[in-house]
Amino acid sequence: MELLHDINLYLPGTIIAIAGLVVMMLSAFNADHKTVYWTSILFTAVALVRSFADLFVTQTEVFHNMAAVGGIASFGTFIILTGTLFTLLLCYDYFEKVGNYHSEVYAIILFATVGMVVLATATNLVTVFLGLETMSIALYVLAGVVKSDKRGIEAALKYFLLGAFSTGFFLYGIALLYGAAGSTSLADIGAVTEKGLIYWAGVSLLLTGFFFKVSAVPFHMWTPDVYQGSATPITGYMATAAKSAGFISLILILSRALDTSVEQWSEVFKVIAVLTMVFGNIIALVQTNVKRMLAYSSIAHAGYILVGLAAGTPEGYTAVQFYLFAYTLMNIGAFGVIAYYERYKGADLTELDNYAGLGFEKPLMAVVLSIFLFSLAGIPPLLGFAGKYLVFAAAVQADMILLAVIGVLTSAAAAFYYLRVMVYLFMKPAVKDIKLAPVGGIYTSVIVILALLTVVLGVMPWTIADILATF
């Protein structure tokens, strides 16, 4: 009975797991694209509603303290499922157009989501490892899902080799921490008092593994290649849901297991955050491919998030959660519009030159893309601004003024490359005669809803901040 009770508490993850199996069976019986599409969306929407309800329950642990429910864990689940739902909604039009659609895509997306949910709720290093690997292995497949695309397969190979490499470090970290604490539970590791070589080696290897997964400099080498080569909606999914899952798990580990060593790891996080922000933004300035530019921008955003973590305070963790939610909404939207522009066959429309004059071809899409890019640049009153404000405010409160100053300066520099896209869209004359394909109704409405959320929640950030304040 206790098991059933726990499953009920852990319902969002359970629903997605069942959805993955159902969709896999549907593809085995050759269900058409529409059936598979709507089934996965229905399940995800139900799980999303349930995870929203979970935000208001008392925090507890399930499955013999292997996973947490409520609080940060549930908000992580909520972010991940939001990202998954919007990605799934965008997938239909995109894969119809690519003409290389396999129904398994939806099943694999759902399995990756199960991994993310497990990762974001894990309170034991065993579940952290299982969640991370379920997510990663599914993402390796997703990166190369369009088999005819040489770049997609290359992205999959690079992602796989570097991902498996980082798994080695991650697992070694777990093993050493297990040796130091005598247990894999985060609470037991937090209670370690004798911190010898094994403990510190374990902590550093574990954090290295995480830095790989969230693409922090100097462990970011795979990010641009993988993001550029993957199918565009999938890139949006990796950049938002997968990254959020990694960061939420990092918050749980830092706040529960490594709370006693906060002085030491905070220094490391400061250095990594500065490197990530500076490097990500500078390289993004010189990119000519929009997808690659957004990949470097996503590295830079990981840097801003690391600033919030470096603060090591509850305010910092709250700010990071808000930032992840904001980033998920605006980035999926931005990748959605780019996926739409890609639909012209024969030209590689992700090159920035091809965007010249496109703004007047389909004004709605161009305006919406501008909203997302303004928000990513952190211009008020959009959602991205509220996120950046909270993160940097947390750093200032923790007396890390220099870190906050570097963050603000680099994000000012970042405005250049976001605005450049808009200059191409609206101010340059069209060089090629590019006719954009008509947009599906669902596709348009999803993108417009995302843009509306970016604006409305940006004007009223307290709607989310109030929920986060109760954790």
Binding site: V126, F129, L130, E133, I137, Y140, V141, G144, K147, K150, R151, I153, E154, A155, A156, L157, K158, F160, L161, A164, F165, T167, G168, L171, Y172, I174, A175, L176, Y178, G179, G182, S183, T184, P224, D225, Q228, G229, I283, Q287, R292
Partner: protein, 100 residues
């Protein structure tokens, strides 16, 4: 009986060999083998900790890590085959469509 340090030392050496292999080799399959070596070195650490502490959890974790390694191998080899079909090579220095 040997002390715990010997086992930890051996697994650290194996892990280092694996890491060096990943960083220096060019053939995707050899890189993948080096990754497997790293994972198995970790398994050795887990088992020896588990045995010396008289705690079963470490050995259970080894089962999980074996399963994950197997799943990773299945996906990884499939990706390497797809690469070979496209490029007729698995030398990672010759697979460079994506670069900045």
């Amino acid at each position: 009986m040997l002390s715990l340090t010997w086992f930890l030392g051996l697994s650290a050496i194996l892990f280092t060999i694996g890491t060096i292999g990943v960083l220096t080799r060019k053939n995707a399959i050899v890189i993948f083998m080096s990754v497997e070596l790293m994972l198995n070195a970790v398994n050795l650490t887990l088992v020896s900790f588990s045995s010396f502490m008289g705690d079963i959890h470490g050995q259970i974790l080894v089962f999980f890590s074996l399963c994950v390694a197997a799943a990773e191998a299945a996906v990884g080899l499939a990706i390497i085959i797809a690469i070979f079909r496209n490029n007729h090579t698995v030398d990672i220095t010759k697979i460079k469509l994506l670069r900045w």
